[in-house]
Symmetry: C2
């Protein structure tokens, strides 16, 4: 490995400079991404063609001195492999042709075999690892059971996911049945990514923060913990660091840190020093600048990077990132300013 | 006053049953609202015609045994009166024809005189008070300076309000100049509503929760405190309880309670008992069921109401509400179930 800062930080070991990668770093803000996306014909086809998924995964690594690559894919590959029929209209959002609405729909779901039903993802992981050739580590990922269940029930994005929540209130046993099968599918999927070469794993609980505290513990946290525990029983995955990111769930950081994960992703609505005080040294922290900072001037970006580094302090265990994905309207040069500032300012203060 | 539970709860005095009102209780989920809205021709015309604003304000009071009425209006009446030109396309959102983008735009803004430039609001307040005839108290409201500035800069809604945040990062002095004039306009507007008859005042900091902690303190909290302080210098408003609601800003409850407000609105991502422990008995609390609960069964709604009441406990100072506005897709009968459950379950346990 030419650059193992990211993996060292996840293990809370000292580093020469704070590692940085960016959620959605392979995305629409990059003209080279938009060109490949146009060649692919559709977003789903881009995900399902390993050569193209590999190409866009490597684009931000070629352009910026990032310290990790993340598999280009989508969290809804798992419901798609369960037979729900994924399509993505960029700018509108994902859609599942066959949402689950009844107990019978849920009883009919099976756990996909990653090497057959999600083979295109495993092939992409193997291809990316080969092409990266040790330059930086590769992150694999999945959606959280709660977040996937939201989409599986609604069939599309929603401001409130009221239909999913109503199932949790009205028929918790059925909701748990759905979450359990999705959690088992996610564990197999992540373990297979690890076996194929992913060197870190991340679970995106994008909609966990929409839940009231009691519901979060029962319907989101419980399955995040189940995933962290189950991966510990997998021969390969047990040695691969797991990052949990429950967006908007800052009230639950201590419980998330207790799941046995290696690191927590943080959104920008909590300061890094507050988060560190709350979770102690049990886990590394990943985050957490407001993505909107990339609309500010280069001087302001550098200043905000400096404040975030100072807030985390001179401890091991920080992976720099935004607090949410980079948006399509960002000038890529601004991201270059951010990445350089992370390395320069953290190296200078270490 | 026939029913002063709401005002008693805001003063943290004992009540025979927990008072309840609902954010956006005069809204699109009610067929009678949709009929009046159609007659008005446009949302803005509905706001600007005191007789129609009065009519929709009273509709939920006629249908449900709610303990407070809230003026039907929009937070963007203030920027509109400042000359920015408000239009609202329901289902899409508000738009300001002349957003502020430059220091010159901001220097040109003045503080509107409520009794002339916002006369239609004051007339609506007076008319509603007369028509309510002491049945329940009337709440007046305004948007927070930060939230109004977001719209004034962007000209419309936004997922991230990146343009407003970029101004805060790049030119904080100009952002403070904008926030200061908006805060002064809000103070005059709220004081005028109190003089016209509003018996409680609420400030909606809808987008405060989008700010990182340092920015929240500097650009949102500071002006909420300025409003609370300034209203204390107003002969009428100083005796009117002020409710602050910073959605998504649960990390700042202690500081919000220190502003001198009477009550804090809470969204549903914090439990009422946690919030009470954090703010003590300095303020009353208003909230906080997830609006999505109104998509669950009547039994589940009653159960969730019971849990929220039990979480707050047998203390004075609770105003029941949702944690955000009721959504247009709710069956009004479900809201009836919720309102009755609040009164019955709280009276039974008191």
């Amino acid at each position: 490995m030419d650059n193992d800062r990211f993996l060292r930080a996840l293990r809370r070991e000292p580093v020469d400079a704070t590692p940085v990668w960016i959620m959605r770093q392979a995305g629409r803000y990059l003209p080279e991404y938009r060109a490949t996306r146009a060649r692919a014909g559709s977003f789903v086809n881009l995900c399902k063609t390993p050569e193209l998924a590999c190409e866009v995964t490597l684009q931000p690594i070629a352009r910026f001195p990032l310290d990790a690559a993340i598999l280009f894919s989508d969290i809804l590959t798992v419901p798609d492999a369960m037979g729900l029929g994924l399509s993505v209209d960029e700018g509108v959002g994902p859609r599942l042709a066959k949402p689950v609405r009844t107990r019978a729909d849920i009883d009919a779901l099976g756990v996909p075999d990653p090497e057959t039903e999600l083979r295109y993802v495993m092939d992409a992981v193997r291809l990316i690892r080969r092409e990266l050739n040790g330059k930086v580590p590769l992150i694999g990922f999945a959606g959280s059971p709660w977040t996937l269940a939201c989409y599986m029930i609604e069939g599309e994005g929603s401001a409130s996911f009221a239909r999913a929540k109503a199932l949790a209130w009205d028929d918790p046993a059925t909701m748990h049945k759905l979450l359990d099968i999705v959690a088992r599918a996610v564990v197999r999927y992540l373990a297979a990514q690890a076996a194929a070469g992913a060197q870190a794993l991340m679970v995106f609980d994008t909609w966990g923060g929409l839940l009231a505290p009691g519901l979060f513990r029962e319907f989101s946290l419980r399955y995040l913990a189940q995933i962290a525990q189950s991966l510990q029983s997998d021969n390969v995955a047990k040695s691969i660091p797991l990052i949990l990111f429950s967006k908007g769930a800052n009230g639950h950081l201590e419980a998330l840190a207790d799941t046995g994960c290696a690191a927590l992703g943080l959104d920008w609505t909590i300061s890094l020093d507050d988060a560190r005080v709350r979770v102690g040294t049990r886990v590394a922290l990943q985050g957490n600048l407001d993505p909107a900072v990339l609309h500010a001037s280069p001087d302001a970006i550098r200043a905000e990077v400096g404040k975030a580094l100072a807030s985390f302090g001179p401890h091991p265990g920080h992976v720099f990132n935004l607090g949410h994905g980079i948006t399509p309207d960002v000038d890529p040069e601004r991201l270059g300013v951010l990445v350089d500032a992370v390395h320069e300012l953290s190296a200078a203060s270490s």
